[in-house]
Amino acid sequence: MNTNTVATSTAAARPAPAKAKPVVQKEDAMWLQKELINRNYMELATARADNRKVSATFVPGNLNELLMCFDFARSLPETNALQNGMRKKSGKFIMDAERDGHSEDVCTYVKSDLGMMMGGEIGPTGDPLPTPDVLLLSYTGCFTFMKWFELIRHKYGTETVMLHVPYQGEGKIAPNMRDYVVRQLKETVIPTLERISGVKFDIDRLRQYMRESAKAEEDLVAVLQSAKNRPSPIDGYFGAVYYIGPIFTAFRGTPEATEYYRMLRGEIEQRIREGKGPVTPDGEMGEEKYRLIVEGPPNWTSFRDFWRMFYEEGAVVVSSTYAKVGGLYDFGFRHDPENPLESLAEYCLGCYTNLNLPSRIDMICKYIDEYQADGLLINSIKSCNSFSAGQLLILREVEKRTGKPAAFIETDLVDPRYFSAANVKNRLESYFQMVKQKRSAALAGAH
C-alpha cells in the first residue's frame, strides 16, 4: 500500500545550502532525523553480524514498540520502496518485477520491493538489507499488504504472522473489533514473535516504550497543528513527510524519537514567533498565497519537482491526510502504557486508511475549517486503491459541504512512468487561479 514516510538521506531531503541556507535550528532537527533513519539502515545492514533477527512490517498500524520488545532490527518495505523512488532506482525494480510476471496494473510499492529483492540483499542506501526473518502482516487499511507479504513468503520462505485489523465500516471502533485485535496479539502475534526472536515478552518493557511514544506523539501534534498559524511555519504534506519519518517507522517508542520531536517542536515554535513560513528545498518559502489541504500520498520519484510546483506559486499545504496514515494523533489518540495491548489495537484500528469514506470526508472538512484552508487538492495515486477508490466522491462532497474549490491530479508512488510534470503543473496552475477567483468573488460579495 501506498503509505509511508521519508528519510532525509537524499539530496531532495536536505535544503540546498547553496541557494538558501536554512536556519540553524531547523537544520539540527533535520540532521538528527537523517541520523536516525541512517542508523536504522545500518542496524539492518549489520543485523546478521550482530546476531539479530530482522522483522518487516507496514507503516499503518505498525507495532514498533512491540517489535522492539523482541530486539528485532526493523525494516519497513514501503519506506524502502519510497527511498528507492527518491533515489531513482524504483523504475528498474518495477520493470524487473513485471518481467518476472507481475501485472502492470498492481501496486508499484510491491513491485519496487520485489524488484529490489530480486537483485539481492541490498537496500536503498546501497548497504546490505537482509531478507527478513518474520513478516508481521499488520493488515491495516490495505488488502494489498496481505498479497505483498504472501508474495515475499512464497519466494523467500519467510514466515508471516497475520494481524487482521477490521475496517471501520461504520465509522467507529466497536468493542468486538478491539477485542479481536487484542486476542490476535495475545494468541498469535506475541507467541510467534517470541519463538522467532528467542526473546521472552516483557509487558513492562512494552509499557516503557509506549510512554516514550506518547511523549513524541504530543510534540508531533504540536508541530502538525502549528500550520493553523498564518503564515504556516511548516508544510503539512511535503514537509510533514519528514516530520513523520521517525514516528511512523522504526523509532516510535525510543528516547531518540522523543528527543527528535522535542527539538523539532522547539524549532517550529521559534519559527512561529519569528513569523516565518516553511523551509523548502530551495530555502525559506516566500509569501504564503494559498493554504491547501491535500488528500493522498505524494509522488516520490519527482518529489522535489512536485513540491516546487507548490512553493513557487506560494502554496503551502497546511494539513494532509497522508501525514495520518501512521496514526491519527491530532484527533487525540496516544499510546497508553496503562492498557498496552488495547492501546496498540486502538492505534491500528484508527489509522487513516482504516476509516470509512464518510469519516475521511468529515476529517477533510474539519481540516479545511480549522486550518482556514482555501481548498482541497487530491493527489490520486494509481497504485493505491485504498486511498484512491472513492476520491472523486470525496472531492464532490467536500466541495458541497465547504463551498471551497477542490482539484484532482493523478500521479503514482514510485513508478516514474506515471508522473507527467507538465500535466500536473498545468492542473495546479489552473487550480490556483480558481482559488484566487473564488477568493476575489467572496471578497466582492462581502462588500
Binding site: S103, D105, Y139, K147, L151, G169, N356, N385, L392
Partner: protein, 392 residues
C-alpha cells in the same frame, strides 16, 4: 443445444433473468407479498442464510455486465480502477437497484470496501453494511470476532423487518442453503463428468439465476436442468479440460465464456459466484446457527485471493485440488483489469502450477470487453498446445 427442449427452456429463463438489469424478478417477488424486503450483496461471500431467515430475498449484485452503458458511474472512478464499482454505482444511480432495501459489501478488496462508504453517502435511505470476515481462522480468535459480526448483522436485519431472527428460523435457512449448495455441487460434478452436456455458458447462467431467485426455486431449477440436459445427448468434442481462475468478483462477459469454450476448452471448474459454494459441505442445522456458520467459514470454506493463506504450503492447494479432482489439463487465469487480489495472487498460483507441471495461460478482461477474437485465439492456442503436447 436444440431449442424447444426442457433444458433450453431453463437456460432461456436464466438468460432472461441475466439480461434484466432492472431486477424485475426481485420486484415481482416483493410485490407478491406486501412488506417483503430484498438485500443486495456483492462478491465474494455473505452468509445469505441470515437474510433468508429474516424473510428477505438475498440478491447478488455483480456489476452491470456488457449491456449497461456506464455514464454516471465513470464520473466516480479513475481510469485505473476496475469496472465493477462504476457499473454498480450506475445501477444504483439510475434507479435499477431501488427494489433493494439494503446492500452488503463483503470484505474482498479496497475498492469494494470503499464502495461501502460511497453507498452510505449516495443512498442514505438504505441499509448499508461493510461485512467483515476474519483472516484469523482460530475459533477462539477469528471465530469469536466473526460470530459477533454475524450477530450484528442478524440484529440489524431483525430490526429492518421489525422482529428478531430466531435460531429456528436460522437453522431452517441453513438447511435450505445446504440443499442449494448440494445442488450446485451436483451441477459442478455433472459438468465435470460430461462438460459437453452442460456447457459453462449454461452453467454460468444457472448460477446467475441464483443471484435473484429465492433459494428454494433456484435449487429446483438447478436439479431440473441437470435432469433435462442429461436426457438429450449432445456431441462430445476432443476439447481441453481447463479450470478458470481469477473471475471471482467482476464478471467476464458471457461472450468471453462462450469464446473460451468455442476455442476448444471445456471449463470443468471455475471461481464464478463463489457465494454459491463458498462453504464446502453441509452446515449443521440443529445446533447454534451462528457458531456453525462460523466454523464452516473458518475450517471448511473455499480459497481465493481475498482470503489469507496462513502458511506458504497452503498457497495453490485449493486450485490444485480443483485441477486434480476435475481431471483438468490446464488453468486459464482470467482476471479483471486492475483487480489487485487476482493479479497479485496470480504469480504465486502460476508458480505452484509450474511446479506440478500444469500448463496455464493468462489474460485480463473487463466486464464490458467486446473484442473476443484475441481471447479466442489465445485460449485456442492453449487448448491446442495441451492436446498436442501434454500427452507426449
Amino acid at each position: 443445444m436444440d431449442s424447444g427442449t426442457p433444458a433450453a427452456a431453463i437456460v432461456e429463463r436464466c438468460q432472461a433473468l441475466f439480461d434484466d438489469l432492472d431486477f424485475n424478478a426481485v420486484k415481482q417477488w416483493k410485490a407478491a407479498q406486501p412488506g417483503r424486503k430484498a438485500i443486495g450483496y456483492m462478491p465474494i461471500y455473505v452468509p445469505r442464510e441470515l437474510i433468508h431467515a429474516a424473510g428477505m430475498l438475498p440478491v447478488g449484485i455483480l456489476g452491470g455486465g456488457d449491456a449497461l452503458e456506464v455514464i454516471q458511474g465513470d464520473a466516480y472512478y479513475q481510469s485505473y480502477i476496475c469496472r465493477i464499482p462504476r457499473s454498480t454505482i450506475e445501477l444504483g444511480l439510475t434507479g435499477r437497484l431501488d427494489s433493494l432495501d439494503g446492500m452488503l459489501f463483503p470484505s474482498i478488496c479496497d475498492v469494494i470496501r470503499n464502495l461501502s462508504g460511497m453507498w452510505q453517502i449516495l443512498f442514505k435511505d438504505k441499509y448499508v453494511r461493510y461485512f467483515d470476515v476474519p483472516q484469523n481462522y482460530e475459533d477462539e480468535v477469528g471465530g469469536r470476532f466473526y460470530v459477533q459480526e454475524l450477530e450484528v448483522l442478524r440484529e440489524d436485519l431483525g430490526r429492518l423487518r421489525g422482529k428478531p431472527i430466531t435460531d429456528d428460523e436460522l437453522n431452517a435457512s441453513i438447511a435450505l442453503y445446504n440443499d442449494n449448495r448440494a445442488a450446485i455441487r451436483e451441477l459442478y460434478a455433472y459438468r465435470s463428468d460430461k462438460p459437453w452436456q452442460a456447457p459453462t455458458s449454461e452453467v454460468y447462467l444457472l448460477l446467475r439465476a441464483g443471484m435473484v431467485l429465492p433459494p428454494e426455486d433456484h435449487t429446483t431449477l438447478v436439479r431440473d436442468y441437470i435432469a433435462a440436459t442429461d436426457r438429450v445427448a449432445r456431441p462430445k468434442r476432443d476439447n481441453a479440460r481447463v479450470v478458470i481462475n481469477g473471475s471471482f468478483c467482476e464478471q467476464p462477459p458471457l461472450g468471453l465464456i462462450k469464446s473460451i469454450e468455442m476455442s476448444g476448452c471445456y471449463i470443468v471448474d471455475d471461481d464464478f459466484m463463489l457465494v454459491t459454494r463458498w462453504l464446502l459441505d453441509d452446515v449443521p442445522a440443529d445446533a447454534s446457527p451462528l457458531d456453525e456458520l462460523s466454523k464452516a467459514f473458518l475450517h471448511r470454506s473455499a480459497s481465493t485471493a481475498a482470503k489469507y493463506d496462513t502458511k506458504r504450503e497452503e498457497k495453490g492447494v485449493f486450485l490444485m485440488k480443483q485441477v486434480k479432482t476435475r481431471a483438468a489439463e490446464g488453468v486459464v487465469f482470467a482476471a479483471p483489469s486492475f483487480c489487485d487480489p487476482a493479479l497479485l495472487e496470480r504469480p504465486m498460483l502460476q508458480d505452484v502450477l509450474a511446479k506440478h507441471g500444469v500448463p496455464y495461460t493468462a489474460f485480463k478482461y473487463a466486464e464490458n470487453t467486446g473484442q473476443m477474437a484475441p481471447i479466442r485465439e489465445q485460449a485456442g492456442t492453449f487448448a491446442d498446445s495441451i492436446k498436442l503436447w501434454s500427452a507426449a
